[in-house]
Symmetry: C2
Subunit: 457 residues, 2 copies
């Protein structure tokens, strides 16, 4: 065969260490702050997370050994192929070589399993018996249910009520893996009961669901329950670095020393960190690589928000995190890429943007679905709505390469398939999709709630 | 890492030839017969299929070169991993080594893409512009839509109305790949209009949908349309042989000369042929391999039906095929494994059973969903309802190995994931599933319609 489409790695070639960007940041990471404005201590997080993950959260170590049992579980589906998008290249008429890292072949259909497996394993090691979490569209809840099944942990997922009602398949997935999934707000927590008493018909929100999941974890009288988060936190970014580390090995296999451009979509930041941080390591060490985060215009955290201290959730249960944020009260328009509808951004990704290691671009969902359809027809895989943002970004870069007449190497993260999110395509194809954009004044107004908050320096 | 979970192959290791069981059958294959009881000629099939596929259908050649462009398209997702089911083995406490061929990672989520790509390519080579087909649950229609998109062919899918209404996601998938999907019976064909006039509320059937698809192909005044079938026919079995051929290479990589047991589920026969025929080649040449086809009790073609000549469809549009058949009027109970609800069996698989190259076993869907849940919790992937039949078969063989205390090598075909078929799991978990079994008299009675048909000798 003349063409090589996929670059594969053997199980034995799985990276043995994760990469942590923290020590390589040009400016040190600002610490998370407690309600008193002082840096929080590991002990303060102990009721929420197991200590071994808290240690990872604050780690300054560049390379972190991946425990053998985690490697073995990851090997159920990893390494995943790096695929050359010949069909897409041809359709675009670009001289660029486009590669995508196909995270969609995992049992959960997205990259979320990479950290779910790691988090479940660390919790089990620490003696934890039960995990709680929240989920919006259901990707993360499914992934944690999957990992909990593999490790024999109980798993309880609070799913935003409107998604719970609209996406029954997601609940069934979690049930099939043995997890419990309840609509949030629920009657199982004080937070939920309070909200239901006041707003019995509320559609719920991620903020409420996070509050319920944390409450249920910290109020377990036996102390056997912890909370698990699928993005934003440093340890999640560390776990996802396996994506980019595999990609580097795969590029090396076909003689490519470095890509010219790396593209990822940005919601909470975890898949973007996964594909890009290992390349930021090269960039810090002198390599010339353009790294681009793509976000929706309807939630323009990286492109229109300031860098400041804000809560990770609407209910302000989390510490203050140093990040680009639209304000914890910001409610993004209901685009189909539910995983990108987050008011803030992982502190590590935020720091990378602040320090010039990456750039960011916002796109409309119509452009993304158009890109997704082109991808489905040329490469065959139907992308998740989140993933279409990365594709739109890669197409833009391929068109720039075409204008410049340069044979650039473009790599993007294909985070997941869209087989459970086809309604967005249906609406796009039948002309029912709206694009959303926020004027600067509206964003500024929403940020007023943060007046008086400490500022990262 | 001490364990090797996946055995991978590079793109360059893709098999370059398909395997055709026909010349290796102990008894020659009986020919398909026309309405007059005489063997049909290739010319008679020409309005339905392109001549290059008809030549493959009647080929006596053992090894058939895979055209390079087909290899390149297959390389989008093939070779697929052969995975060692350590988690399942442990749960069963078996000394057996269980391997599964993971066909679920293809863009369509099942093995159906393997022949869809080949058929679409041969049609395009022959100058065909449009393909028609039928689909029940939607797997095959999706696969042909996918392949047609890659090749720039139009694709029209007649989907059994009850599934069309119940499974809107399948239609959206096909639309996303640019195909048209209409509920059958439709008003677009004479067959459909006649049936709707008589039974306006009919839920439809595969037989009706096949008739509509064939009618639309053969009545194209420009002659640019052909019909495509996802199973049963010899050329489909040939295309699927790539599954078993890859598996043999992968077993050889870890030093396994031959498996002791090969298991596949049986509907029309294509995935079963795919995994097992290359091993039947070894069996014909002296190897001791147990090959087991698993079918549902609710459609016991291999275990309770006679070997005879019957039509492939309810409307009797197809030639008479030599096969095990419950009679073309047989309507299997509505189990969730829609892909296994077929009254007949591929002539090549039927011949293999008749000639003792394989054995068959029927299972109840409750046993299958139990096996599927165990698999989801131990190996992580949620299987399609069809696939759970193969898992139930493999578990049975693993338990036999346990009783015998033998370290047998068991290989089964993991045909597809169940992410779009979760309702079956939900019903099983909530105690709403029924098992079905047909008494011999009922089967005999249904076969009366075949009185006077010629018999294969």
């Amino acid at each position: 065969m003349t063409l090589q489409k996929k670059i594969m790695l053997e199980d034995s070639e799985l990276p043995k260490q994760w990469y942590n960007l923290t020590p390589d940041l040009p400016t040190p990471l600002n610490p998370p702050l407690g309600p008193d404005g002082k840096p929080i201590t590991p002990e303060m997080l102990a009721p929420v997370f197991p200590m071994n993950l808290i240690e990872q959260e604050v780690s300054q170590q560049r390379w972190i050994d991946i425990p053998e049992p985690i490697l073995e579980m990851l090997a159920s589906y990893r390494p995943v192929p790096l695929v050359r998008a010949y069909g897409l290249e041809k359709a675009l008429g670009t001289p660029a070589k486009i590669f995508y890292k196909n995270e969609s072949i995992s049992p959960v259909g997205s990259h979320k399993g990479n950290t779910a497996i790691a988090q479940a394993w660390y919790n089990k090691q620490f003696g934890i018996k039960r995990l709680t979490t929240e989920t919006g569209a259901g990707q993360w809840g499914s992934a944690l249910a999957y990992a909990s099944a593999l490790l024999g942990l109980e798993c309880k997922v609070f799913m935003v009520r409107v998604s719970f009602d609209q996406k029954p398949y997601r609940k069934m997935m979690m049930n099939t893996w043995g997890a419990t999934c309840v609509p949030s707000p629920s009657t199982e927590t004080q937070t939920g009961r309070n909200i239901l008493a006041e707003f019995p018909d509320t559609p719920g929100s991620l903020g409420i669901a996070i509050s319920e999941a944390i409450e249920q974890a910290v109020t377990d009288p036996k102390g056997e329950t912890r909370y698990s988060l699928g993005s934003v936190l440093n340890h999640v970014m560390i776990h996802q670095s396996i994506i980019g580390l595999e990609t580097k090995k795969q590029l090396a296999k076909v003689g490519i020393k470095k890509p010219d451009v790396v593209v990822g979509c940005c919601g909470g930041g975890s898949n973007f960190a996964g594909i890009s941080f290992p390349f930021m390591y090269d960039k810090v060490n002198g390599a010339d690589i353009k790294i681009v985060g793509i976000e929706p215009f309807s939630c323009p955290t990286l492109t229109k928000a300031p860098f400041l201290y804000d809560h990770g959730d609407v209910a302000r249960m989390t510490p203050l995190l140093p990040m680009y944020s639209l304000g914890h009260t910001f409610i993004p328009a209901p685009i189909h890429a539910g995983g990108l509808r987050y008011h803030g951004m992982a502190p590590l990704v935020s720091a990378a943007l602040r320090d010039g290691l990456m750039e960011a671009r916002a796109v409309h969902q119509s452009e993304c679905f158009e890109a997704g359809l082109l991808f489905a027809k040329t490469e065959g895989i139907i992308p998740a709505p989140e993933t279409t943002h990365a594709i739109a970004g890669a197409i833009k870069e391929a068109n720039i390469a075409k204008e410049e007449g340069k044979e650039k190497v473009i790599v993007f993260n294909f985070t997941g398939h869209g087989l459970l999110d086809l309604v967005g395509y249906e609406k796009y194809m039948t002309g029912q999709l709206k694009d959303y954009e926020y004027p600067a004044e509206e964003i500024a107004k929403n940020l007023e709630v943060l007046k008086g908050y400490p500022l990262p320096v």
